[in-house]
Amino acid sequence: MAETHTNNADFIAVQNEDFCLAAEYAKLCENNSSDGAVVTFTGLVRDLNQGQRITSLTLEHYPAMTEKALREIVHDARNRWQLGRVRVIHRVGKLALSEQIVFVGISARHRGDAFAACEFIMDYLKTRAPFWKKEQTENGEHWVEAKASDQQKAQQWK
């Protein structure tokens, strides 16, 4: 597990281990009476993707680049919105059905900033952070294809 603090309020991790939403939420809230809004996103391994039944998936990444890419995305988000704390965790390795893949948690004074930044970070992560999914199905395994809809979502933030 590798951790990087881009500033006191940011936490970015790329790791094999699972994460705990309650612990992440506690870190967003504790001794933080100035933020009235906390938004979290959790991405999980779902059973069906593009019509195929998934049994598990394997996440590969480019270790030297992943944290740097995530850090840049968080930095971008901070330039756009007034944010309190930001926590991003992305898992790599083999993940079973329903396992947690990714977490983005944001605290902010106001909810609009927290919602926008959380969705922005996910949209950018999906198109700019060097992770690749290989899905295992009953009929063998295959690399997941990038979705045009993810490109479009990311472009809407321009």
Partner: protein
């Protein structure tokens, strides 16, 4: 110059790292240079098919290259 390949590209080209010293000044030139290595390289390194990063930052064909750079080629990302 170190060149890395990830995910499907690594598998198809059967190559995860390459150390090369070509006479190239831009990412476009490196891409063209590597595409000469064979049909699969020609196809899978095509612009639009493979993304590239120079020193761990997303790059485009006009990005300048120097000897000490780390270049990576990979398919469009699918994390999250």
């Amino acid at each position: 110059m170190k060149v890395l390949f990830f995910a499907q590209l690594r598998e198809v080209l059967d190559c995860d790292t390459l150390v090369v010293e070509p006479e190239v000044n831009t990412l476009a030139e490196l891409r063209a240079h590597l595409q000469q290595k064979g049909e699969l390289w020609q196809e899978y390194l095509a612009e639009g098919k493979a993304l590239a990063a120079v020193n761990q930052t997303l790059a485009n064909d006009s990005t300048p290259l120097s000897e000490k750079d780390e270049v990576a080629f990979f398919p469009p990302v699918t994390g999250g």
